[in-house]
């Protein structure tokens, strides 16, 4: 019985694995693994928080939960756009860290099998940090976002300074 359970778990993970939520920034389509996606919400009023990088717009109140939001455009070094009512926020969660990603608009959930994923090319260094692959679909390519890197870029730094923290 344990095996069956294990298989199911594996399958679950598999099922999740190839699922990506796609969103657009300008004309580019990005995808993010569904297992990190908590939900998608429209625009909400953002409370600014000082002393944060520019791409962290602030924090929002999502049904009582305080979630920081990040403007992906800024993070990807694009020109920031004004938010309209089509702008959406994707709430992602990873290792108990919740972040809202402000993007132009969400598209859909698609399955991109691994076979259709290739490694990212080497040009834009900045973006590359966050792109972990290119997914090919019938309509075009989807830039697959490395959620870990996106969320936790600073964490590596944080970990380095762990010792200091304890002081």
């Amino acid at each position: 019985m344990a095996n069956i359970i294990a298989n199911e778990v594996l399958e679950e993970e598999d099922t999740q694995k190839d699922n990506f939520l796609t969103f657009t920034l300008d004309s580019e389509v990005y995808g993010i693994e569904i297992k990190y996606v908590m939900e998608i919400i429209g625009m909400q009023s953002i409370s600014k928080v000082p002393d944060l990088p520019e791409y962290v717009k602030g924090i929002i109140n999502l049904r009582g939960k305080i979630i920081p939001v990040m403007d992906v455009r800024i993070k990807f070094n694009k020109e920031p756009k004004e938010y309209n009512d089509r702008t959406s926020t994707i709430i992602v969660e990873m290792n108990d860290i919740f972040v809202g990603l402000i993007i132009d608009s969400v598209s859909e959930v698609i399955i991109i099998p691994e076979s259709e994923i290739v490694a990212p090319p080497e040009f834009s260094v900045n973006k590359n940090k966050y792109i972990c692959g290119i997914g090919k679909t019938g309509e075009g390519v989807i830039l697959l976002v490395n959620c870990n890197k996106l969320l936790n870029e600073e964490e590596t730094n944080a970990l380095d300074n762990a010792g200091d923290k304890l002081l």
Binding site: E11, E12, E13, T15, M38, I40, G42
Partner: protein
């Protein structure tokens, strides 16, 4: 004698009386003188005769007493009585002396005196004897006393008595003489007095006559004149030239008659005029009255016309009101039309608004579609996370997304339709606006008309009111006219009265026969001049009456006036 005549009557009379008085006085004086004489005589008589005689008597009495007493004395043995008789004798003797003294006073002649002296002597002698007797008596020597009595005394007594008689004779003779004198005096006086009296009487009578004549003549004249005047003949002259009262009176009477004349003449004239005038007044009053009546009738006509006008005006006003109502109705209709326009506009607006709402809703639907899309995505996410179990759910999510897309599309189409609808509404709205403005102008025009009519109505009303007032005024005038009429009738009546009274007066005045003497006073020449004041009055009346179509009356009056003067004037021809 003129100057006498000029004396005042009073003076005259007084003079007469004075003279009379003087005469009387003369007479009186004379009489008094005579009387005085007589009186004197009588007095003398008395004094010189009567009185002494009386005194003699008394002396005699005394003598008697003495004698008595002596006797008594002798006769009595009472010493007391003796004393008392002595006293009495003494007293009588004293008294005898006294009387003799008295007589002495009034002795007129030597005879008398002689007599008296003899008397006295005799008396004394007597007395001597008496005293002796007394003495004897006292000594009770009555016998001697008696003897003496019979002897000495008697002699003395006889002497005494003789003297007494002498004296008496004297006195009686004297008395006689006196009486004769008196008679003569009386007679002379009597005569004198008679003469004087007669003279006096005659004088008096003459004087009296004179005076009375001087008085009564003029008075008579005056009397006559007055009689004449009284009879109404004022044509009298008083022929008196004296300056005394009567003359003055006569003059005064003359004056009076003149004045009276004048006055009467004036009165005559005046009464004539009054008569004339009052007639005129009467006439004019009549005329006035007639005129007033005519006025009243005219006023009646006027009132009638005014009534007509009033009715017309009311009609006007009514018409105006009706017109107003009509125009109000028209206005209402126009306004209703306007309101409907507005409502139409409103409903167009509402259409627009609802179109907008629909737009909004479309937008909402669009939003919903978007949200649904997101939800669907979320669902897809969840489905993906659910893995195997979520596959069916993923399909559902995809379908929902499709639906959302369809909704979105439909929403877009609807939006376009809405927009075109809105445009059409805009156009319709524009037209409606124009219509609305046209209607508005109608309304405005109608409003103006209505207001004008309103004004007309108001004016008519005011006119009606005015007419009413005029009516009232006319009624008042009518009243006044009637009053005037009545008054003028009264006036006419009064003036008739006046006229008749004036006639009376005239007649009365006519009773007087006037003289034709130019004196100060108002005689009217033979002109046609009426008293200018009266003429003015009449002219004024005339003027007034002219306007009321009573010219004819005036002419009557004026012609009357003229006639009057002519006629009446003739009356007073002297």
């Amino acid at each position: 004698m003129k100057w006498i005549g000029n004396l005042k009557i009073g003076v005259k009379i007084l003079t007469g009386f004075v003279i009379m008085a003087i005469i009387s006085a003369c007479i009186g004086v004379f009489g008094i003188y005579s009387i005085n004489k007589i009186n004197g005589l009588s007095t003398e008589l008395y004094e010189n005769i009567a009185n002494p005689l009386a005194q003699l008597v008394v002396a005699t009495q005394d003598y008697g007493t003495i004698r008595a007493r002596i006797r008594d004395m002798v006769l009595t043995h009472n010493p007391n009585d003796v004393n008392s008789y002595i006293e009495q004798m003494n007293s009588a003797s004293d008294d005898f002396d006294k009387q003799l003294n008295e007589i002495t006073k009034t002795l007129l002649n030597d005879q008398g005196r002689e007599a008296i002296s003899n008397l006295k002597q005799n008396k004394e002698k007597y007395m001597e004897v008496a005293n002796k007797i007394v003495e004897l008596s006292k000594e009770n020597r009555n016998a001697e006393a008696i003897n003496l009595i019979n002897n000495d005394l008697k002699t003395a007594q006889n002497n005494l008595e003789a003297t007494f008689n002498q004296f008496i004779n004297l006195k009686t003779n004297k008395a006689k003489s006196f009486s004769v004198t008196t008679d003569s005096t009386y007679k002379s006086s009597e005569l004198a007095t008679l003469i004087v009296l007669i003279i006096g009487i005659v004088a008096a009578i003459l004087l009296g006559l004179f005076v009375s004549k001087s008085i009564s003549n003029p008075i008579k004249k005056i009397m006559q004149g007055a009689e004449k005047i009284a009879d109404g003949d004022l044509d009298v002259y008083f022929d008196i030239s004296t300056n005394d009262e009567v003359g003055i009176l006569a003059k005064a009477f003359e004056k009076m008659s003149n004045n009276l004349n004048e006055v009467m003449t004036n009165i005559n004239d005046a009464s004539s005029q009054v008569a004339t005038g009052s007639k005129q007044i009467a006439d004019s009053s009549n005329a006035l009255s007639q005129g007033a009546t005519e006025q009243a009738s005219t006023v009646e006509e006027l009132t009638a016309s005014v009534e007509e006008i009033s009715a017309q005006i009311r009609l006007n006003a009514n018409n105006g009101s009706k017109a107003n109502e009509l125009s109000a109705k028209v206005k209402e209709n126009a306004e209703t039309g306007n309101e409907h326009m507005i409502e139409m506009l409103r409903s167009m607006e509402e259409i627009n608004a609802s179109s907008n709402n629909i737009s909004k809703i479309i937008k909402v639907i669009d939003d919903i579609a978007f949200q649904t899309n997101i939800l669907a995505l979320n669902a897809a996410v969840e489905a993906a996370r659910a893995g195997q179990h979520g596959k069916g759910f993923a399909v559902v999510a995809a379908e929902v997304r499709n639906l959302a897309a369809k909704s979105s599309g439909a929403a877009k189409e609807t939006t376009d339709m809405i927009e075109s609808s809105i445009k059409k509404v805009e156009y319709g709205r524009k037209i409606a606006d124009e219509t609305a403005s046209a209607l508005n102008s109608i309304v405005t025009g109608v409003t103006d008309v209505a207001s004008l009519i309103d004004q007309i109505a108001v004016a008519s009303n005011e006119q009606a009111v005015g007419i009413e007032q005029i009516n009232q005024g006319i009624i008042q005038v009518s009243q006044v006219v009637q009053d005037n009429s009545a008054t003028s009738e009264e006036g006419a009546a009064a003036s008739q009265e006046l006229s008749s009274q004036a006639e009376l007066m005239h007649q009365e005045a006519a009773k007087f026969k006037l003289k034709k003497v130019t004196s100060n006073g108002g005689f009217y020449g033979n002109n046609e001049n009426i008293n200018p004041e009266v003429l003015k009055m009449l002219e004024q009346m005339n003027k007034k009456n002219k306007s009321k179509k009573i010219d004819n009356s005036f002419e009557k009056i004026s012609s009357n006036t003229i006639k009057l003067s002519d006629d009446e004037f003739g009356k007073y021809e002297i």
